[in-house]
Amino acid sequence: MSQPVDQSPAGTPLSTNRDAAVAGSPAAPAAAGEPAPAPRPRRSRWLGAAVLAVGGLLLAGCQIPTFSATKPTTTQGQDAIKLWQGFFIAGAIVFVIVFCLIAWAVFRYRRRSDAIPQQTQYHTILEIVYTAVPVVIVLVLFAFTFVTENNVDALPAPRLTVTVTGFQWGWRFHYTTKNVTVIGVELQDPQMVIPVHEAVRINLQSHDVIHGFYVPAFDFSRYAQPGIINKFTITPQSTGTYHGQCTQYCGLYHSLMRFRVKVVSATQFAAWVSTHHSSGPQKSVPTVERRALGKSTPSSTATPNSNASTHTSTAATYQTGSTGL
């Protein structure tokens, strides 16, 4: 390739320089918000398409897809998912705009001559705009976040309280006022049963290391930590059995620390309570000695397989959002 040669617009008066640039460009100056002019017709076509797309989504109302997130089955999860949808759309718009700007620069301004381009370094108005606009966007996003997080974290008076305890590597569900306790046997999934349409208070804690209580279908998770009791409310809106899992890495068998949440009708729940009532813990496995399963445990290859049968019941009812992405 040839060597770049300094052409010398530098020698010409400044105004000529600028005029030449405008005249030489095929495009009219674009609106503020873009680093430099782009051809107007193309741009407004894009804008039109974007407005149509977003408008269409908004008109569709509650039909906005969950963009791959799990469809929520609790009131709290529905709040969170609305925020997610808003963030996703806002993020997608920003992504597309910036993506197009980069792509435009990359394809349009690939080297075409040896001329040294305009040595533009500052554009005060543009710089103010691209600082101020993101600040506004961020503040709007924060406002929605603030409202949503207060809804999600609200603690209304509970109809039912369950004390959930994570331990290496299982879960214990204690129904405080019902005198019912469910304990997961080593590497077997316990099942928490709760009634539908009722605000269920969860008091979450741990007796050893930090665990994460996560039910994808509730679109919610919270750490179970030693020394802290985390309180939150879930209000399930539909019956079914949902997959749950520890999300905070907690040692050797973290991968297998799963559980199920079964949401049933109020009458079924009452029946379940009466059959499990007061006979002490369902499976009295001492929780204290569990960490004896240390690093010396032999290869774990057999464990997932032996466990597979317990997951089959989850298969039918576990739902994921099938739309988006």
């Binding site: 770049p4 010398s8 530098a10 320089n17 680093p35 430099a36 791959s68 799990t70 709040d79 969170a80 997610w84 963030f87 993020g91 997608a92 992504f95 993506f99 980069i102 620069a105 990359v106 301004y109 690939r110 080297r111 040595q119 533009t120 370094q121 554009h123 543009l126 691209y130 600082t131 961020v138 996003l141 924060f142 976040t145 603030f146 305890t165 007796h207 996560y214 919270r222 750490y223 030693p226 020394g227 802290i228 997959h243 899992q245 999300t247 905070q248 890495y249 907690c250 040692g251 973290h254 991968s255 690093k295 774990s300 290859t301 464990t303 997932p304 597979a308 989850t314 994921t320 992405l325």
Partner: protein, 617 residues
């Protein structure tokens, strides 16, 4: 101060007879031993920088291999490739090596060590022996961490964040964990000393005329990084010492062992605080993210202007954006702890969202730099553009994570894994290897092969998206991170396989880098002093530079001294909203902004001078 200095020995044709290569070579030989002894005893920032880079890249390859092990394990739900314990060690060591031993040291120990003194016209770092100590501490720390694989019980397996109380001896009693802690203490001191060195060097050893606002953006970013290191790393070191005390001296700072009854009530007097570790760790950890990111922002900010043949767009805005990022980064740590239920959500959410603003400014600056340029697609530029796309995606999902209700359902899932890999991979890998391709000719005086570089880039780019986009979906579908097996009925396997294929593409791409190193070693192509027609001072000296870096310096009248020198006829610096600043090489008046200090404008140093020519472009 000399205004007009003799031009340097040029790569593509020597201009000044008196400045021949013999003189340079002689100066080179005057200093100390050669061969291996030179590498061991040196206090030269360039040799130390190279040592850092070689070590860090080797560790990068090791950590990459560990990642492949992780990905192979996850191709099947049952996960039978390795045992759970081995898997836990793999992801712990993969994260630890990448975060502590590659991304940081490669940037501030390697590239910055090599480049910053050159960019500001200094003969060396401010404290050369401290600099050597930094490297040896780093090497010692890296070795200590890797030793974990060879002790009973294996390497550390509590995750790279080492959350207490999992990291106390009750749950992870092995020596591998102790080695991990000691390794981080060593590398922590190494980083602190490097931070001191960078800050002192940049404040005190700038050449005449190199005012703060004429420093290249890379140097600016390394200054801010140095300050951030001094803020963040001592906190980590202190937290680690306390963790070690919990493990071996019976303290109860994070430990909770034995302070609970089986039925639940904690005894407050006997309990340490598990959340304290998280606070301390992330008070280090989030500035650390920017310690890892800012140097790479600096690298691409060097590359975009050079390969667009334009100045950095919005130079001062860029500097202030960097400072804002650093300031905000010390106030966002608890966004890693939203799901602990113990932090003030609105404050940390707002701070985390706000950090998107200066980052966005940088994006517009990079795009503005390319806008209406003449873009040359050599490998460094391709890597830098790869960085833009990668970091854009990682940045957008980062904003989503700043909202606690969203974080609640993607926290510690593969969504987060995809997010931070896109951010860190985008910066440390695309940005880092962009820097390597860019400065390699300066370091060794020979080019890297551009065709192999492009193979490297395209495989890496495609592999990158194939690896991480499925992980977002997995996370949204509920797959937790750090699991060695997963239920087979949730539809996760196909996404995991896609991700694994991508990971192998990335691995394959790095074979091209090795081939490229071999090519340049075996069939050297001389680079000349300034193969890219670059802007900043380091391209003014020879490749590789002589022992004390410069025998001559050009007059520094702008943030582009080498460009000014080589392009006396360059068009004027233009202010897009109307004003125009005189190009520093011209005597047609003094414009606003930045050309006032130091050398008086008007001594046209080059009006009649030939431009130096490089072999490329």
């Amino acid at each position: 101060m000399t205004d007009v200095i003799a031009p340097p020995a040029a790569g593509g044709g020597s201009l000044i007879p008196g400045m021949g290569t013999e003189h340079v070579a002689h100066a080179h030989e005057d200093h100390g031993p050669t061969g291996l002894m030179k590498w061991i005893t040196t206090t030269d920032h360039k040799v130390i920088g190279l040592s850092y880079m070689i070590t860090a890249v080797a560790l990068f390859y090791i950590a990459g291999l560990l990642a492949l092990g992780i990905r192979v394990q996850l191709t099947t739900p049952a996960g039978t490739f390795i045992s759970f314990q081995q898997f836990n060690q793999l992801f712990t060591m993969h994260g630890s090596i990448m975060m502590y031993l590659f991304a940081g040291p490669f940037a501030f120990g390697g590239l910055a060590n090599y480049v910053v003194p050159l960019q500001i016209g200094a003969p060396d770092m401010a404290f050369p022996r401290l600099n050597a100590l930094s490297y040896w501490l780093f090497l010692g720390g890296a070795t200590t961490m890797l030793m974990g694989f060879f002790v009973g019980g294996g390497a550390a397996d509590f995750g790279w964040v080492a959350y207490a109380p999992l990291s106390t001896t009750t749950y992870t009693p092995g020596p591998g964990e102790d080695l991990w802690i000691m390794a981080l203490v060593l590398t922590g001191f190494s980083a602190i000393f490097t931070g001191v060195n960078l800050v002192a060097t940049i404040f005190y050893l700038r050449a005449p005329g190199m005012t703060m606002f004429r420093m290249p953006i890379f140097t600016w970013n390394m200054l801010v990084t140095g300050i951030l290191i001094l803020i963040a790393f001592p906190v980590l070191t202190a937290a680690l010492v306390m963790l070690f005390a919990d493990r071996h001296f019976g303290t109860m700072i994070y430990s909770v062992t034995g302070c609970h009854t089986v039925t639940g009530t904690p005894d407050a007097h006997a309990c340490g605080s598990a959340v304290l570790w998280q606070n301390l760790f992330w008070f280090f950890g989030h500035p650390e993210v920017y310690i890892l990111a800012l140097p790479y922002f600096g690298i691409v900010t060097e590359i975009f202007p050079v390969f667009s043949r334009k100045p950095v767009f919005g130079y001062k805005g860029m500097v202030f954006a960097t400072m804002s990022i650093a300031a905000l980064s010390t106030g966002v740590w608890a966004h890693h702890m939203f799901t602990t239920g113990t932090v003030l959500l609105p404050f940390f959410s707002l701070m985390s969202l706000l950090i998107a603003v200066p980052t966005g400014i940088k994006f517009f600056n990079w795009i503005g730099t390319m806008w209406r340029g003449q873009l040359v697609y050599k490998t460094p530029m391709l890597m830098a553009i790869g960085f833009l796309f990668a970091f854009l995606m990682g940045g957008v999902t980062g904003v989503m994570l700043a909202a606690p209700p969203i974080d609640f359902f993607v926290h510690t899932t593969y969504f987060v894994v995809a997010h931070f890999h896109q951010v860190l991979f985008g910066t440390a890998v695309f940005g880092g290897f962009a820097g390597l391709y860019y400065w390699y000719p300066k370091m060794f005086g020979r080019m890297l092969n551009d065709r192999l570089g492009k193979w490297h880039f395209w495989l890496l780019f495609v592999g990158f998206w194939l690896t991480y986009m499925p992980q977002y979906i997995l996370g949204l579908h509920g797959m937790p991170r750090r699991v060695a097996s997963y239920p087979s009925n949730l539809g996760w396997q196909s996404w995991n396989i896609a991700s694994t294929i991508g990971a192998f593409m990335i691995a394959a791409s790095f074979m091209f880098l090795l081939a490229n190193f071999w090519m340049s070693w075996r069939y050297p192509v001389p680079a000349g002093d300034n193969p890219w027609d670059a802007h900043t001072l380091e391209w003014f000296t020879t490749s590789p530079p002589p022992h004390h870096n410069y025998t001559h310096l050009p007059t520094i009248r702008s943030e582009r001294p080498t460009w000014d020198y080589n392009h006396p006829q360059s068009p004027n610096i233009r202010h897009g909203s109307g004003r125009t600043r005189a190009a520093p090489g011209h005597s047609n008046g003094h414009g606003p902004g930045g050309s006032g200090n130091g050398a008086a404008p008007g001594h046209g140093n080059g009006s009649g001078m030939e431009r130096r020519e490089g072999p490329v472009s």
